[in-house]
Symmetry: C2
Subunit: 214 residues, 2 copies
């Protein structure tokens, strides 16, 4: 039986994506919580830094193979465990899915990551209001273009009627948007798909509030 | 013959990555310059926004297929045009390469992208000094961990002695580091590999200063 361990944190969007993938593929895993806030951030502690020098979550250990970067981890899982495929095999759809996922995971999420907010509050001494403006701004810019793209690609989910990597990136990003009171009425397609996805058992089980370290 | 057009900008790191890939694979292409600075930024003009609602470069049109997101574009090229492979076929190496490329393209580059610098200078009224501090900070954080990872994976290039997707991300990021006077003595492996790569004809031809719109 494969030993599988996910090093993550309940509120990390990147870990959340991987939890959804593992659940959709019905893969058992144990979780190790890396508390990004307490004790100066456990991601900076020596044993975690040795595991991933980037000092970011998640890391997945799958059968002795160490994997980092959530998009890469999910592609690995999709290749190794083809049940509930998350990346289409047809060329045009495959690269549309990868690019849409990257529109979220590259163009929105890293700009609002915890360490950025810490720099804004620390080095730049931004007020909470200005920090929240920053956060909402980059989500709104990203969702504005994503909404237009989904008007072309979506059906029941982001890529037609099939679950895909894009959906796994969308739900954690909408979770963040809601935390920071982004007005989701401006993004009806994103809102509709998110409402469908968040009722799916694999997404419910992966939700931040349902993790042991929440 | 395949019609192939790259919408890019000489100084865009993401376009630079794709130019290197096209050159390594010896694929002909025409370039359309999208000037990110002049005229309020041509990426925001209606005809480009219709092409890519994200209003970011690059876009590659390959035989009528529209592709966005540089990492996704390069994976597409690697699948369609297998000469000079950029992603290893063996599982462990494949996902190491993808993750290392994402360490640059997700964890460093988006935080320092033009629109971020414009927000820092505009909405947040940061001085040029503080803006440069921001820029260097995220490169140094990223290079610090990348240097440790390359100590494990690198040979002549980032992934052993074979050119890979990581190298295509590394060179544009070092170009940015040099523009902002990051002390590269702190990163001897990155510096060594970059010095090797920037002597390669495909990388020279892709360099910002050698583009028609420079």
């Amino acid at each position: 039986m494969t030993e599988r361990t996910l090093y993550g944190y309940w509120r990390s969007s990147a870990a959340y994506r991987v939890r959804i993938a593992l659940n959709l593929k019905k893969l058992d895993y144990q979780q190790v919580s890396v508390n990004l806030i307490k004790n100066g951030g456990e991601q900076h502690h020596a044993h975690y830094s040795a595991l991933n020098p980037s000092e970011l979550v998640p890391v997945l250990i799958d059968d002795n193979l160490k994997l980092t970067q959530s998009l890469s981890i999910i592609e690995y899982l999709d290749e190794q465990y083809p049940q509930c495929p998350l990346i289409p095999s047809e060329t045009e759809a495959k690269y549309r899915v990868k690019a849409l996922a990257q529109d979220i995971a590259i163009d929105i999420h890293p700009i609002n990551n915890l360490r950025i907010l810490q720099y804004l509050a620390g080095e730049l001494e931004l007020t909470d209001v200005k920090k929240a403006d920053w956060y909402r701004h980059w989500i709104e810019v990203g969702f504005h273009s994503l909404e237009k793209k989904l008007a072309q690609s979506s059906g029941h989910y982001c890529e037609g009627d099939s679950l895909s990597l894009v959906d796994l990136c969308l739900v954690p990003q909408v979770y963040n948007a809601n935390r920071f009171n982004v007005d989701m009425n401006a993004f009806p397609i994103i809102e509709r798909i998110n409402n469908t996805l968040t009722m799916h058992p694999a997404f419910i089980a992966a939700a931040p509030e349902n993790q042991p370290d929440a």
